[in-house]
């Protein structure tokens, strides 16, 4: 883990509570996240694990009824203390976001070029012509063919892949330092996915972006990330460098995720492994380790307390009581 001074994103003990009926629901319970400039972290997890909620908390995009606890520091600013005006200046300029479905993230009745221009004008106070020129540069940069003409397109006139390129152009319009990506390739075809990932990696190097990349696809995470943080029921249960986590998955949930992937060695007719059970109800989480009820290594002590992080290697840690007892080193290189 890097020291807070060198990191661009620093979240400490982040919690997010939503009002649910009479009570409240804790969707994120104590997430620590730290990114250096130019680094990519993949938040990996299934639906409802709190990865998108964590991402949105970094930008305070949740409705006011949601309570964010802990501390978030981005580029030296205390995000939770920002006034509404400061928050508007922060969003899109310091941190910007790309969304899962670019077909829904653009306003359908405005031209794409105008939607990019309005962002640039909002943050830099320049003229529409200058903002449009920036849009054109960005469209060329994300390799949209005949960019001049495409700027005048409405969202529905573009293909999914092109829309996501346009979304990336929009997100980078004001040269942000941090990019939050919320499953940006999930809605795309496999061939387009890899193009978008390659583009993101290229732009990251060029702009020195720090990226928080939310995905449920391990393959995508490996492709893009320097580090992987696996989330389960609102907690990061395992985190470490991409190579370390894949080579030496230590938390039973991470092992399950890796085992349940379809891969080339899978013979036809062979059963695909699936983690038994389903994710817990966050309104009534199980006591102790939230993965306990689904875990094949469950012992009585697991339900007593929430496990603390245990170091596996340098920078690689996991929350599991049984780690000391597991021969996790056996499949390490």
């Amino acid at each position: 883990m890097s020291s807070p001074s060198s990191s661009i994103v620093e979240a400490r003990n982040l919690t997010v509570d939503f009002a649910a009926g009479r009570g409240s629901l804790r969707a994120v319970c104590g997430v620590d996240l730290s990114l250096k400039p130019g680094e990519t972290v993949a938040l990996l997890g299934e639906s409802g694990s709190g990865k998108s909620v964590t991402l949105r908390a970094l930008m305070r995009l949740h409705p006011n009824s949601a309570k964010i606890g802990g501390a978030i520091t981005v580029d030296g600013q205390d995000v939770l203390a920002l006034s509404p005006a400061q928050l508007r200046a922060y969003r899109g300029r310091i941190v910007s976001m790309i969304f899962q479905d670019p077909g829904l993230a653009f306003d359908p009745v405005y031209r794409i070029g105008d939607q990019i221009a309005e962002t640039v004008m909002r943050h830099e106070g320049c003229s529409h012509a200058q903002a449009r020129k920036r849009g054109l540069e960005l469209f060329e940069r994300v390799r949209i063919p005949s960019p001049e003409r495409r700027l005048d397109n409405y969202p529905h006139e573009m293909s999914g892949g092109m829309r996501q390129r346009a979304m990336i152009a929009l997100a980078l319009a004001c040269r942000p330092k941090v990019l939050l990506a919320d499953e940006p390739t999930t809605a795309l075809d496999a061939t387009v996915q890899i193009q978008v990932l390659l583009l993101l990696r290229e732009l990251q190097r060029e702009f020195g972006l720090a990226i928080v990349f939310v995905t449920h696809d391990i393959g995508v995470a490996v492709e893009i990330a320097d580090r992987i943080a696996v989330m389960y029921a609102g907690r990061i249960v395992e985190s470490g460098s991409c190579a370390s986590v894949i080579r030496n998955p230590s938390h039973p949930y991470t092992r399950g995720l890796l085992a349940s992937r379809a891969h080339a060695t899978l013979a036809k007719g062979e059963r695909l492994y699936a983690i038994p059970g389903s994710p817990p109800d966050l309104a009534a989480p199980p006591p102790g380790c939230a993965f306990g009820p689904r875990c094949d290594r469950f012992i009585d002590g697991c339900a007593a307390d929430v496990p603390e992080n245990i170091a596996i290697e340098a920078g690689h840690e996991a929350r599991c009581f049984r780690l000391s007892a597991l021969e996790h080193g056996s499949n390490a290189a």
Binding site: R93, L104, V109, R122
Partner: protein
């Protein structure tokens, strides 16, 4: 754009043709002979036949329709049986009066309706939402002739602020944009505006709620846009549907205001229809309905074209 408008205009042709057939048949579907109403009871069979021949009612229906349509094409809707005056001039004056009343009522209703709708949609579930919803539901559900009578009782009979009936001083039936005539239009226009206000308010509330829940609104906030910018996007997204509803409301009010126009004795198409029905003045009835139907078709055309101009997703091809 122009091509789309012309194409839509082409589609209107068969609709207009159908409308003319329905209008024509209406007269012949009604029970009784259209002439019995104006003939003396003791008229002989010969006299009746002569009258029937004079009005062309002895010819076969398709021939009658052909002759009628030919005349309609030349701007001749026949003469009113009751007054003997040309139907065209009667209808034209009534349409003018109704148009003024309906336009004013729609504008008032649209103004208040969109306001209440936006407030309710933005503050869903709050007290403001419930208040706005209450007003709009009242607008849709209160009987309008009753509302009209209450308005007359309060503002004319008790307070004496405004005249209760007619379109102008001294029984004037030609509306003019001066202060005296304006006083006459206020009560019927306010009464009539309750209908579009309620409907537009409900529509806009649902629209705004739907738009605000869409991803792009969060995306707008994520790129640093303020609430005022978001509001502009919401308006632009809500406009096509809201305008379509407003256009249709204007159409309904043009022809569907019989009760209100009768309560206020407003010399418009509703009042004219009412008179024509009770006097069994079939040429007048036929002509009024035809003109109103064409208005409706034309209004739909305008709304369609406007919508496609506002919402790029509506195909122009």
């Amino acid at each position: 754009m122009l091509r789309y408008a012309l194409q839509r205009l082409l589609y209107v042709m068969p609709v207009a043709f159908g409308v003319s057939i329905v209008c024509f048949l209406l007269v012949h579907l009604a029970p009784g002979d259209p002439l019995t109403a104006i003939m003396p009871i003791d008229a002989t069979a010969d006299q009746q036949a002569e009258m029937r021949a004079a009005y062309g009612f002895d010819r076969p229906l398709p021939v009658q329709y052909g002759i009628w349509l030919w005349k309609v094409f030349h701007g001749d809707l026949g003469n009113s049986i009751a007054s003997g005056r040309p139907v065209v001039s009667e209808v034209a004056r009534a349409v003018g009066n109704s148009l003024i009343l309906a336009t004013l009522a729609t504008l008032i209703g649209f103004g208040f309706g969109t306001f209440f709708g936006f407030v309710a949609g933005y503050f869903r579930g709050s007290v403001l939402d419930r208040l706005a919803s209450l007003v709009s539901i009242l607008g849709v559900s209160v009987p309008h002739y009753w509302l009209g009578m209450v308005m007359v009782i309060v503002f004319s009979a008790i307070l004496g602020w405004l005249p209760s009936t007619g379109a102008g001083p001294g029984g004037s039936t030609d509306w003019r944009p001066d202060f005296d005539h304006l006083r006459y239009i206020i009560l019927p226009a306010l009464t009539m505006s309750a209908i579009p206000m309620g409907i537009i308010s409900r529509t806009v509330r649902a629209l705004v709620a739907d738009i605000l829940s869409q991803d792009f609104v969060q995306a707008l906030r994520a790129k640093g846009m303020g609430e005022w910018d978001v509001f502009k996007h919401v308006v632009r997204n809500a406009a096509p549907t809201a305008l379509a509803v407003m256009g249709l409301q204007l159409g309904y009010l043009l022809g569907g205001s019989i009760l209100i126009e009768t309560v206020f004795a407003w010399p418009g198409t509703g009042f004219l229809l009412n008179t024509a029905i009770f006097q069994r003045d079939l040429p007048l009835l036929q002509g009024t309905i035809l003109v109103l139907a064409f208005f409706f078709v034309g209004l739909n055309l305008i709304v369609d074209v406007l919508q496609s101009a506002l919402d790029p997703r509506i195909q122009r091809g």
